[in-house]
């Protein structure tokens, strides 16, 4: 659970409810199918933490809609980040590529929030070490703006203009064990040092 940081008051507003997230996921699954002519050769790779269940959900929707089995997995870009030295050491997440690799496939990277674009840049570098996909596309649940790199998403669940001082929190039942929700929290603290990702649940490691 995210605990309130010391300092000023915070206001949270829900921008996507559980039902909204479900509808948005369904639409994105349709869009991926449309743009890739039925999802042939597509691999969905989630960026940990919350991109992974999103990729799994998209794969399930694509199966419901067209009966295609889209391989999905996860890709941890931590070792390729450019901001490793700016904060304490980050624990590594799981990288699990579908059997058969990425060569010649259409890889759709899936993440919850697109903010500076630095995570996606790192993921592109990581992906290149595993092979040469035919194309790489990006699907995000929320695009909150404030890009620092020339990166854009191919599939966007919701465009959400935000202030830098606000943070976008995504809650997914698989990870957070609470109902699906996307909310914007106005925070009264220095921003711009984060990567725009939702704070992790304080897991006992």
């Amino acid at each position: 659970m995210a605990t309130a940081p010391a300092g000023g008051p915070r206001t949270a507003r829900t921008v996507l409810s559980g039902d909204d997230i479900s509808r948005v996921t369904t639409r994105m699954a349709h869009q991926i199918l449309e743009k890739t002519s039925g999802g042939a050769d597509v691999i969905l790779l989630g960026i940990p933490t919350r991109g992974v269940p999103l990729a799994r959900r998209l794969a399930a929707r694509m199966r419901d809609v067209e009966g295609v089995d889209v391989p999905n997995g996860s890709l941890d870009p931590t070792m390729y980040r450019d901001d490793l030295r700016l904060r304490g050491v980050r624990p590594l997440e799981v990288t699990d590529l579908p059997a058969g690799g990425v060569d010649g496939r259409i890889v759709v990277l899936v993440d919850d929030v697109l903010f500076s674009g630095r995570t996606v840049r790192a993921a592109l570098d990581a992906l290149a070490e595993y092979g040469r996909p035919r194309a790489v596309q990006l699907a995000v649940l929320v695009d909150r703006g404030h890009r620092e790199l020339p990166i854009r998403a191919d599939y966007v669940g919701k465009n959400m203009p935000t202030a830098r001082l606000e943070s976008v929190q995504v809650r997914l039942s698989e990870i957070d064990h609470e109902p699906d929700e996307v909310r914007i929290v106005a925070e009264d603290r220095r921003a711009g040092d984060g990567d725009g990702r939702s704070p992790e649940p304080r897991a006992a490691r």
């Binding site: 070792m79 490793l84 904060r87 304490g88 050491v89 980050r90 624990p91 590594l92 990288t95 006992a204």
Partner: protein
Amino acid sequence: MKHLLSAEDLGRDEAIAILDTAEQMSLLGDRSVKKLPTLRGRTVVNLFYEDSTRTRTSFELAAKRLSADVVNFSARGSSVSKGESLKDTALTLEAMGSDAVVIRHPASGAPHRLSSWIRGSVVNAGDGTHEHPTQALLDAFTMRRRLGRVNDLSVTIVGDVLHSRVARSNVRLLHTLGAGVTLVAPPTLLPVGVETWPAEISYDLDAVLPKSDVVMMLRVQAERMNAAFFPTEREYSRRYGLDADRMAMLPDHALVMHPGPMVRGMEIASEVADSVRSTVVEQVANGVSVRMAVLYLLLGGSPE
């Protein structure tokens, strides 16, 4: 984590975090490009005052796979042979911009002293008869990979416990991770105060083998033997060596481990060392993954 000086410093969560990180690092071995950009621009110094093939190469490879620059420094053929002290050598290396020093030294406690002199991280790669924490970590990693867990395993460590830093580090780490350890050795090769260690002690290898999940053979360290610890090599080998007959007493799933270098025919028979139960070669491969994990966890974040 700033330094890795002793397995005793590692709490359970920390040790498990290292093993989990090593698990991700080991996936690199399957890739065609075995290199990560993570420690680009960092410098790791291998400061070796004792001979070593395996550990030094393993650390060197680990650092290089993370894209760090590596400087190898061995006491032989350096200004140490002209009488330079450890402190002066360390300060010289630090002045050249090293971020971490991996040290092996014949004196117990040398890495600890070193850590108070330099700003960078210090990794103990074996100090005298004290500790060798990365060896214990790679042993635990090997057990977890082969047997699925470390918790509740019965691990028997056999041989020259007195001179073995590997045994000390293993007893501490395995205890932290919840395994039960039994030490088997001639009474002359057990250190004073061994009864205070979190381990059982036995002098009868045959009695212990049938209930062991892992048996770890230690090398008889002839170079540290300054007294007659046992009558003859043949007698040692008969009572404490692992041969095919003894290996047959182990449960079917049990592993035979050895930190290397092995003295075949002494503590371990050739047929045992080359059997499918032996993890000797695997331990070396796992050593690189574990050392990558340690270097990443020490150097991967902000320098504070």
